[in-house]
Amino acid sequence: MNVSLILIILLVGAFATFLAGDKLASKVAFFFGLAAAGCSIVLLNHYNLGENISFINQWITQPNISFALKADGLSMAMLLLTTVLTPIIIFSSFGNDYKNSKSFYALILFMSFAMAGTFLASDGLLYYIFWELSLIPIYFIALIWGNGDAEERKKAVVKFFIYTLAGSLFMLVAFVYMYQKAGSFLLEDLYKLNLTATEQLWIFLAFFLAYAIKIPLIPFHTWQANVYQKAPTVGTMLLSGIMLKMGLYSVIRWQLPLAPLAAKEYMYIFIGLGIAGVIYGSIVALKQKDLKKLLAYSSLAHVGLIAAGTYTLTLDGLRGAVLQMIAHGFVVVGLFYVAEIIFRRYETRAIAEMGGIRSQTPKFTSMFLILVLASVALPSTFNFVGEFTVLYSLSQINIWFAILGGTTIILGAYYMLKMFQHAMLGETNTKIFADVTFNEGATLVIIIAVLFFFGMYPKPIIDLITPSLQEILTQINRIN
């Protein structure tokens, strides 16, 4: 089966959605999303049978750029994350009524297309193109369908766009620089380069800027909270669930193997930065008044830990990071969906205006609580597997990293439970909170099921990603 089929489905889906008209758009988009998910599962099957899932076609001769897609275990995992989350996200929006929904859903599928492409591309430039391409739909989604004051939103979204673009353009320069040496943008050719330590450092930094902004790591995170808050929930889900994983994935796939010397030399600084993000994000989250903003900062804290894990350059660090990426993708989508469910009923995201919901809807409360607990990595949820592995890898580098990074389990519990307490508990709210609809419930149940299943039995994913991570590690360690 051809790997590009998935991309084609998503792209065709985007057009079909646009042509389907406003009434049918969401259904068509959902259908294509499901089709892509189905295809990726079939693809996974092929991959597990040992097939080589790749597709190479010369695209541009001068400069030498190929349309090269390759799915190893890591890419497969990320592809699955993307294609599985996309229909879930689309499904979750069924309760909302968007103006001009044909464009809206078309953009979602297009974004999914670009993100899937980013995870699959094995040619540096193709990867870069997908990377940039994914920025445009989310820009419009946040801009046009977002909420809050239009001027404020504009400011936040434009800042986001320019900021992320700024970072990635330096990555482009780094790619071009390496192209000069390698004569090709193909990942395998770039791997063969023998760059000096100084060159590696600059390349590493150029990549770092792109990824640090995208992930985001402190102090490059200032776009995040505002955009998460202003974007429509679907956009926030796409951003936090999948898009920021693009940054983390890229660290593993591109940054570390291409500039291993710099990664090793300055390992402590980058791990430190990630951990600083954990603590900073957790502390800032404590005093957030807006539910979506709080989740944004919690996301900042979690990805800080994931990033710290990747920069350990150990198998555990990378593996834990990938596991945690997937887990976080699901849990954060769930949490933002919860915020949306509350918003649908109370028209507010201010935590202070909520409260007293539990007595009205125990079902919803339980699901919310489970997501909260998953987000604070309660053992038996998927997040624990990831977080444990990452923290373990950090402890291998230096026990203090694990201790400082581990504060996330304390502070995370603090802000999440505080939020939960004020949002859900207390005297029954005077405003009526209608029980969750079937759509809402189903979406949350699916997410929760995934979290618990892989929390208890992460082996399939571990087996999927480990060989490719080992390969990447070999690349990282090729020069000593």
């Binding site: 400011k155 800042k159 320019i162 900021y163 102090p219 995170h221 200032t222 776009w223 909270a225 900073y280 502390i283 800032v284 989250a285 404590l286 005093k287 957030q288 150990t314 198998l315 555990d316 593996r319 007293g356 539990r358 007595s359 125990p362 339980s366 607990l373 309660l378 053992p379 038996s380 597997v385 444990f388 592995t389 923290l391 373990y392 402890s395 291998q396 026990i399 694990a402 201790i403 581990g406 504060t407 389990i409 304390i410 502070l411 519990a413 603090y414 439970l417 505080k418 307490q421 508990l425 207390g426 005297e427 029954t428 208890m456 039995y457 992460p458 082996k459 571990i462 480990t466």
Partner: protein, 627 residues
């Protein structure tokens, strides 16, 4: 067969939980009560089967289900270990658990969310079983955090009251501080020995030739911090008194008998590790002793009946840690068991009192209940005698052994522990006297409705009182069944001497006299003088400090909670704004340059041409004159 039975043991409560969660409302109250209780009873039955089996075979049962987490240098499997220690623990977890479920049927009958309550209790038992039977540290950790979660859920069971929710949150977070310690300990052990499995760990440590004592101690210490969190030791004990916000059966089950003993379980489980790190052991001993004393002093002046019991629990746990720190694991275990009996009994008894008084918990408004509630009175009296160390009751044996061990190792610790014991006797009987003797001090209406609790409540009380009386039999001085039973776990018991000398009898006498002195003092003050504790506002002097728990909560608040919140505000308002305006600032500066630049472009052809010519001159002069 064993595997399946073990799964039944584990999943019976979980099934109960699921049923109660999903169908609790449709099933109706009585069905949901029955299912909840039955599920735990099934576990208890299976436990007894395993207990009998292991008593015969002496063989631990090891069950590996599947690979769970994979780390580069080791795998963690999802497996169970049923050996003497875990089965012992299971016995009283499921046993007392069943009793408390039974008790709850009546106690919680009027609550509209009965099924939820039972669901949570079942879930708790499930996690507690996981904690106990996990074959490695990580599976134990699932249970460890799981019981913390259930504790959170149950403390905040009446979630409409935000103070209760605060207490629940506090419990969870303080537990998590300990959990971080536990995780760090796990990391170090994993790093050192490439395994988290108890059995392999034991062999690895035994077989290791050059142990890195520094890291070993660090691991032990980190694990101890975990135990501190769960078992409410200094400095992480403050959540336990607050946890009394939960329904009384919860206090009895989770916060007295089972969950809080998890720390002791873990340390006993890893005794082979702690034995190698004497420094950490001494820390444990000192922390235990100090906790015992501090909690006891606070307990002296508390007026809330459950708070007294809570501090008493902290104090008793301190004694157990003292024993652990002195290497006398079997003594600690012994005290855990007896404590489970009498403290559960006390809590349930207090629950019965509270039930009768419609929620009143302040002892100043009780009194004279012994006539109205004879069974409650008698059972609680027995339990109080047990905890005070009156001979022949179970507490006498276990506490005495702790004091004995302390005396042998370190006299100051013995003194501290003894003083704590005397205080225990005093405040327990203060509680008894204030609650059951003299005249009733509550309202007329309450007096009218005074009645003995229904049999579902009194039955567990009676059972527990009996156990509290005879529990000491399992480890009589000189001939200890418990020690024999635990020998596979604690190998050095095999070589231990069992003889009672004069010193031992002396100490026993001192302890008994101490206990009686405590009781006597309480009698003198509250019966003879008929004192009733003063109103909160009138408490002065040192007792005010004690009444306010040494202001520890306030200090923690000032040192940790407030600074973090201030920091959060600072980050949110200052740093975030600064970082954000830094980025916006770049844009603004560029924009400003643009604005200024517009002035240069002033529309005058003269200027344009002038710049043209100047540019030309500059280029020509650079190219030709500069060279």
């Amino acid at each position: 067969m064993d595997t399946n039975l073990a799964l039944v043991l584990l999943f019976a409560p979980f099934l109960g939980f699921l049923i109660n969660v999903f169908f609790g409302k449709t099933l109706g109250k009585s069905l949901s009560e029955i299912i909840g209780t039955l599920s735990v009873a099934v576990s208890f039955a299976v436990t007894i089967y395993f207990f009998l089996q292991i008593n015969q075979t002496k063989q631990a049962i090891n069950i590996d289900l599947f690979d769970w987490i994979q780390i580069s240098n080791f795998k963690v499997s999802f497996g169970f270990l049923l050996d003497q220690l875990s089965i012992l623990w299971l016995l009283f977890v499921t046993g007392i658990g069943s009793l408390i479920h039974l008790y709850s049927i009546s106690y919680m009958h009027d609550d509209e969310k009965m099924h939820t309550f039972f669901a949570y209790l079942n879930l708790f038992v499930f996690f507690m079983i996981t904690l106990v039977i996990g074959s490695n540290l990580l599976v134990m950790f699932i249970g460890w955090e799981g019981v913390g979660l259930c504790s959170y859920l149950l403390i905040g069971f009446w979630y409409k009251n935000q103070e209760y929710n605060d207490a629940a949150k506090k419990a969870f977070i303080m537990n998590r501080i300990g959990d971080l310690g536990l995780l760090i300990g796990i990391f170090i052990l994993g790093h050192l020995f490439s395994t988290l499995d108890y059995a392999t760990l034991k062999t690895a440590i035994a077989g290791a030739t050059d142990l890195n004592m520094y890291w070993l101690s660090a691991a032990a210490f980190a694990l101890f911090i975990g135990a501190c969190g769960k078992s409410a030791q200094i400095p992480l004990y403050t959540w336990l008194p607050d946890a009394m916000a939960g329904p009384t059966p919860v206090s009895a089950l989770i916060h007295a008998a089972t969950m809080v003993t998890a720390g002791i379980f873990m340390i006993t489980r890893l005794n082979f590790l702690f034995d190698l790190t004497p420094d950490v052991q001494s820390i444990i001993a000192v922390v235990g002793a100090v906790t015992a004393l501090v909690a006891a002093t606070i307990g002296l002046v508390q007026n809330d009946i459950k708070k007294v019991l809570a501090y008493s629990t902290v104090s008793q746990l301190g004694l157990m840690f003292l024993a652990l720190g002195l290497g006398a694991y079997e003594v600690a275990v012994f005290h855990v068991i007896t404590h489970a009996f009498f403290k559960a009994c006390l809590f349930l008894g207090s629950g019965s009192v509270i039930h009768a008084l419609h929620g009143e918990q302040d002892m100043r408004k009780m009194g004279g209940l012994k006539k109205a509630m004879p069974i409650t009175f008698i059972t609680m009296l027995i339990a109080s005698l047990a905890i005070s160390g009156v001979p022949l009751f179970s507490g006498f044996f276990s506490k005495d052994e702790i004091l004995l061990v302390a005396f042998h190792h370190n006299i100051p610790l013995w003194v501290v522990a003894s003083v704590a014991s005397i205080m225990t006797a005093f405040y327990m009987f203060r509680l008894m006297f204030l609650t059951f003797f003299q005249e009733f001090r509550g309202t007329e209406e309450q007096k009218h409705h005074l009645h003995e609790s229904p049999s579902l409540i009194t039955f567990p009380l009676i059972v527990l009182a009996i156990l509290a009386t005879i529990g000491g039999l399992i480890s009589l001085p000189g001939h200890s069944w418990l020690n024999e039973y635990l020998t596979p776990i604690l190998p050095k018991l095999a070589s231990a001497e069992h003889h009672l000398g004069t010193t031992e009898y002396m100490l026993m006498a001192i302890a008994v006299v101490g206990g009686l002195v405590g009781i006597g003092l309480a009698y003198a003050k509250y019966i003879k003088q008929n004192t009733v504790p003063t109103e909160d506002s009138e408490i002065t002097g040192f007792s005010k400090v004690l009444y306010n728990k040494y202001y520890v909560d306030e200090i923690y608040d000032a040192i940790f909670v407030k600074p973090i919140n201030v920091l959060s505000l600072f980050f949110r308002d200052t740093i975030e704004t600064a970082l954000s305006s830094l980025v916006f600032g770049l844009g603004k500066v560029t924009n400003e340059i643009s604005f200024q630049g517009k002035k240069i472009q002033n529309g005058s052809i003269g200027l344009y041409l002038l710049v043209f010519v100047l540019g030309l001159c500059a280029i020509v002069s650079y190219l030709f004159l500069a060279q």
